[in-house]
């Protein structure tokens, strides 16, 4: 038996326990495994390493990664993260606990989730929200599933072209082989074509999914869309970067039925794409159709306010023909990070952070477009991302910026090959005038 800090049993203890059990060796405890499948050799993996060696090896791997001043967005953003967030997430009773099924000793975790749900409701303007889903893309899938499940004879989801390509791809994976059509409605100059969306509405359409700000960064004008969708007895699903919602119109104000998105901008590092936090919120009347965990407020045997996982009936009995997804856990600890962040910045901070992103993005945009004559994909309003058509100079621009220690933006063709020559540039409150001026100076040489 090897010695290891994670394995407390000593040779004497092992002997004593074997005796109590009534067997003579550890091997006896595996005698129920047929010899024909029992591993006869050791696993072809390196042997155990000490903590320091593990730390060294992983640090070495971390050092093989590089970073630069980032203007990358498209679903993951480089925002300022207050120190308190990490400290609280690192409290042992939060991160080493399990799902709060035993309410009496999990009131802390449950209340934190209740506060998360409340904040999502407030930000989106919706009545109810769940404890979080995996990410923004799968949240959109869940919303689509809700729409399909709560309507009869529907087999189509209309998706605007300006929804994130990865979201569209995940929708196709989930629904493609179930007879549900994911129909993309072509965009026009970087924004949704609402006339086309309206034309495509027919009785088989369960829902319409749009994203604002969209993949290119532009805000979508959803005026009248909800009415048209509801007249067709379909549901409107709106995906939004929640950082924009201190300033931009909320999904509830657009009269959406379901609000989805990703709260990574709130207190979570990019971390190469995960973990992030998908959110989903809806109107009261669709509450019992919400997937995933939900925490509710109640009282205990002595009348004290208490919290508990509720509406659990929705999770396991999915016998219906049109059931389409089984996401039933949440991103608990990451959602806690978001809750802490939102508590720290508060209602004023959400507006301020949004405004900083807005002002800085427009500063960079205006310098690139007005001074350097770069071609903007659209002249419509944007929040903290915008898209330039750099065309044949894209390679040179990105390379030059990279040499200057800057990630200039996302080459959208890497997300969808239809978008050759387009670069989406994201600016957060973390970016300084100095950094942006340097960006412009480098770009000037190329463009």
């Amino acid at each position: 038996m090897i010695q290891h800090p994670y394995l407390p049993q000593t040779e004497d203890e092992i002997k004593s326990m074997l005796e109590t059990i009534g067997v003579s060796s550890i091997d006896d405890l595996f005698s129920d495994i047929a010899p024909s499948v029992l591993l006869q050799k050791e696993l072809n993996l390196p042997k155990t390493k000490t903590e320091w060696e593990v730390y060294q090896e992983l640090s070495h791997l971390a050092e093989k990664n590089r970073s630069a001043i980032s203007f990358l967005g498209c679903g993951s953003y480089d925002h300022i993260i207050p120190s308190v967030v990490g400290r609280i997430m690192g409290l042992p009773m939060f991160y080493t606990s399990y799902t709060p099924y035993q309410a009496e000793i999990s009131q802390g975790v449950l209340q934190a989730i209740f506060e998360f749900q409340s904040m999502i409701c407030s930000i989106t303007g919706m009545d109810v929200a769940n404890a979080s889903l995996y990410d923004g893309a799968t949240a959109a899938v869940e919303a689509a599933a809700m729409a399909v499940n709560s309507s009869r004879n529907s087999d189509t989801i209309l998706v605007s072209e300006t929804v994130h390509p990865s979201t569209k791809a995940v929708l196709r994976t989930y629904f493609g082989d179930l007879g549900i059509n994911i129909v993309e409605v072509p965009a026009e100059k970087g924004r949704s074509n609402f006339a086309a969306i309206r034309d495509a509405l027919k009785s088989e359409v369960a829902a319409v999914l749009v994203q604002t700000p969209n993949i290119f960064g532009y805000l979508e004008d959803l005026t009248g869309l909800a009415d048209a969708v509801h007249d067709n007895k379909s549901k409107l699903i709106v995906s939004s970067n929640p950082m924009s919602l201190g300033i931009a119109r909320s999904q509830a104000e657009w009269n959406a039925d379901i609000a989805v998105g990703d709260t990574q901008p709130f207190g979570l590092p990019s971390y190469f794409g995960g973990p992030s936090v998908g959110y989903i919120a809806t109107r009261e009347k669709l509450m019992r159709k919400l997937p995933g965990r939900i925490v509710g407020q109640t009282t205990d045997a002595e009348g004290k306010r208490a919290f508990v996982l509720t509406l659990q009936a929705r999770e396991q009995h999915i016998k219906r023909e049109r059931a389409t997804s089984n996401i039933c856990s949440n991103q608990a600890l990451a959602a806690l990070g978001t809750t802490i962040y939102l508590s720290l910045i508060g209602k004023q901070g959400l507006k301020e952070a949004g405004n900083l992103c807005l002002q800085k993005a427009h500063y960079l945009h205006d310098r690139l477009v007005k001074e350097l004559g770069a071609e903007a994909l659209s002249a419509e309003p944007f929040f903290n991302e915008f898209t330039l058509n750099i065309g044949s100079k894209t390679d040179d621009l990105i390379k030059a910026l990279r040499s200057g220690g800057i990630y200039g933006g996302v080459r959208v063709e890497n997300l969808d090959e239809r978008y050759q020559g387009l670069v989406t540039i994201a600016v957060t409150e973390k970016r300084t005038k100095q950094e942006m001026d340097r960006y412009v100076d480098i770009a000037r040489e190329v463009l």
């Binding site: 390196p46 209340q111 973990p275 509710g296 208490a306 389409t324």
Partner: protein, 486 residues
Amino acid sequence: MDGETQLIFERSVAGRRGFLFPENDVETKPIDNLIPENYRRNGETCLPEVSEVDVVRHFTELASRSFGVDAGFYPLGSCTMKYNPKVNEDIAALSGFTSLHPLQPSEDVQGILELMYKLTKGLCELTGMQWGTLQPFAGAHGEFTGMKLFKAYFKSRGEHDRRKILVPTSAHGTNPASAHISGFEVQEIEADHRGLVSIEDLKKHLDENLAGIMLTNPNTLGLFEKDIETIATLVHDAGGLLYYDGANLNAIMGKVRPGDMGFDVIHMNLHKTFSTPHGGGGPGAGPVLVSKRLVKFLPVPDVEKQGEAYDFCFAHPESIGRISGFYGNIGVLTRAYAFLLAMGSDGLTAASEMAVLNANYLRSRLKTSFSIPFEGICKHEFVLSAKNIKEEFGISALDVAKALLDAGIHPPTIYFPLIVPEALMIEPTESESKETLDRFVEVMESIAKQAAVDPQKLHDAPHQTPVRRVDEVQAAKHPIVAWRPE
């Protein structure tokens, strides 16, 4: 702690700030010039206004009203609540990992790509599989991915009638759910008197509609499916595939591998077997690993190695496509890889040996006070039934669980699997010392004794926790799921 805790909103005082941003260093234009009115939000959110100290005290108090592995014994069956190594937290927090944007150029993320590649390779070696994907965010997500892989496989062979998935009656609820929502029909297979899959019942369903079988081995009773080779042969001969739910992998590392048992697709739960923290319910990771013939259907992107360099590859024409927005819960994967290195081949084997030893020890010691439905050795977990004390004294598995809370011990899983009445599923894991196990036995024995002497006290348990038993009926009938300002 008693009394009610305030919600963070209830601590709000207008004008307080918990965090300030640097001032704008570019020209501030009127917002209306940048975003016209019809795009603007009307009104404010009701996010709280609190100071930094308020936030710290609030969440510190909430943490004190929670229970984690760091506080005590957590024998939740099928959850593998093992110790979460602290060095993994330090590693996961390295800025060389946290600062990475998912759309950075490949040459700048060689370290993380190498980690993902080596982790996949290591997990394949551990489980006897060919290759896999790290994208699934959780076990259920992995199961769903696995079912999609099954579908893609049969579609490629023109076998569109294979719509039936077999699932044991002892299976976890997500198994039939995942199968069903993927478009399969679920057929339950009975357990025999040993608690194992009934071969007789299995044979009834091996027709041309068979897509495959979903199993966990050891099963949810903690018993090793001895006939697994027979089952694999029968299912494969009938043209079906085998799916392995890796929730119970902690029992068999270094002893037997799912691939060698005949499984075609498996998922692992890294937050169970590989020590990544449960975090109060997530984030986890549920990598899916497959046998050779299914590799081409794996989700994109795939991580591949070309020479000494690593890169993402999207060029897999038969792939089922994307199943997540980016690449999975990378923050969880870094911790899992650290654990893989820390344990190694001998450590992982020892972990399973100790997990199985601990479970069998508890089982032997608890035999006298509780009824144990199945004879023989168990693997890393076992099921007790409280039916003897229920019949005699009216004390249910729920009462036992609540009484354990008063002793500072997290209860085992209760009322699962469904085929055992008043079930308590106990999984100690390898992290627990003999003293902890002995104390658990003492407490369980005293509960059994108290059932005879003062059952009402058990019905009213817990007595020592911050809140008493909560009214779940009210919560479900009149759900209040968000705070609203007055």
